[in-house]
Symmetry: C2
Subunit: 326 residues, 2 copies
């Protein structure tokens, strides 16, 4: 896909999504890429607004992400957390000193009346990120994880309890009253959008919150641009995060095909991308009527990220104008 071929709208959660977003940012001109990030795992901690997925994408595109932890910044120091611990403060959520600047500055600007869209844009510009990075909404939406032991806020489930509780379902508090961020809606509706990419992110807690925003699923179904998802499940495992564990606990087969079905049953996809490890499943998915690209989806190197981005864009271009309407 060349610049003239239109814009790419990518939906991303954290690490996996950010890797593909980085690949896309390196094969597309900046003005041709919009990355919408899940904000349903945002939370207020120590009085600060923390936006893990936005930050992972922002730091990754800025080249300052911490590749060891998968969150936060590289070259980080931990004096704040040490001192906070001495003061008896809450330290289960690991906030590095550099990372903290993002949360303090964002919180200050939000309190000042700026939208999360505007704040994200300002932070990205300051860090030299050229692609447009957006929150899915400027309104508060919060994932609540149903578990066998009761409901948990997402970060309590994810970080504090290390995904140990067995999940029974999810709800996205506030989503019915939330509006997609204006630039997200615009990208969904504008003719210049040539492809919509669902990055290899957790279907339940990264992608579904974005899809649950009023109007987004309908926009996906009505979009003239093909919608392509990249499977976060490779060879029956999640590259990172609890997606595989969740699928098991939700009594789903832990397969790329099950991910495809998860989106397909809502008639949202025009194409799917799986890893070579799942070539067998690709045939099954195609039999069900969904064009499927088989390639290397495990992004270890920067070259991997760029190659997958390119192949995925070519694949999108190869798909005929979609007609998913009944």
């Amino acid at each position: 896909m060349s610049e003239a071929a239109g814009r790419c709208l990518a939906l991303s959660g954290g690490v996996g999504g950010a890797k593909l977003a980085l690949g896309l940012s390196r094969v597309l001109p900046p003005e041709a890429l919009t990355i919408v990030c899940n904000t349903a795992d945002d939370f207020d901690h120590l009085g600060l607004r923390v936006c893990p997925d936005l930050d992972t994408v922002m730091y990754t595109l800025a080249g300052v992400s911490n590749r060891v932890t998968g969150w936060g910044q590289a070259h980080e120091t931990w004096s704040f957390l040490e001192a906070l611990s001495q003061l008896g403060g809450e330290t289960w959520f690991r906030l590095g000193d550099r990372d903290l600047a993002t949360h303090v500055e964002r919180t200050r600007r939000l309190r000042n009346g700026e939208s999360l869209t505007a704040v994200t844009d300002a932070l990205c510009r300051a860090l030299g990120v050229e692609a447009k990075v957006l929150p899915m909404t400027d309104d508060p939406v919060r994932t609540v994880v149903g578990t066998s032991g009761g409901e948990l806020s997402f970060q309590h489930y994810f970080v504090r309890d290390r995904c140990a509780p067995a999940v029974t379902g999810f709800r996205f508090e506030g989503v019915d009253a939330a509006r997609p961020a204006p630039d997200f809606l615009a990208a969904l509706e504008e003719d210049a959008t040539a492809v919509i990419v669902v990055c290899p992110s957790n279907p339940f807690v990264s992608v579904d919150p974005m899809l649950a925003l009023p109007g987004v699923e309908a926009a996906f179904r009505n979009s003239p641009a093909p919608v392509i998802a990249v499977s976060p499940i490779v060879g029956g495992q999640a590259i990172k995060g609890p997606a595989a564990k969740m699928m098991e606990e939700l009594q789903m087969p832990v397969t790329a095909a099950a991910v495809a079905r998860h989106y397909r049953e809502r008639d949202l996809l025009d194409g799917f991308v799986v890893d070579h490890a799942d070539a067998g499943e690709a045939a099954e998915i195609e039999r069900e009527g969904l064009p499927t690209l088989v390639t290397g989806t495990v992004m270890e190197s920067l070259a991997d990220r760029e190659r997958l981005a390119r192949e995925m864009l070519d694949f999108a271009r190869s798909i005929a104008a979609p007609d998913r309407r009944p």
Copy 2:
């Protein structure tokens, strides 16, 4: 003064006051010492409540103060400020990574509805400070500095503009509606208080805000306990901070005697302490009817702090039951 002789109530600003407070904390049992700190130079910065004098006293008593800067913590790192600078945030007020934990935790607790008294107590306990450290009030009072170029908030004058503007006067916004912190009032009124110490702090912006709180000057005048002030001016200079510069700009002689007069004209003192360098002035102050102790008041070592504390307490004990009422 022995434990049985009653309690010491000390009023402190930042560095100079904290030095004497440390001395007092080492010669008195913890339950015999209450230190009230100026909060009129507190301010909200980046959405965080910063209390410079409370923190300097707390850090000093906890043994974690930064003796080079005179503010903040020792063994500090600066990653937060570096990252904030990259984000285009405000960096004129130097917040270290460790120091930041204090502000974040305090702000969180204040937003949670705790009083500044309660928060200060919790932070001090966490840091192992045994003496009682109090804010002068739980209500907002803010020093506004009148300058030849107009009014400035205190931290803009003090830190951002490095005390460069010539001062014309001061007002303490909110002071008329503020109540002294309950434990401050109680210490002023209780019989067990055997001495009230005005530490060698800036008379205009550290001590006067405390005195301006409703009822405090009257309590000083009515107190059966002697009120002793230690001069922050030694040999015509301030050991630290803008006191001398301010006196000059306010057309006052830059002398210990002028400091004594500043408090005496309001009939607040029963005794005064000056440095050997000002022995000549001591005679002048005594002629005006105020008992004056001449000793070494420049506190370089820990031993200096302890010695001055002891001598000052002995001096207080030597002063007859005060009768300053007309």
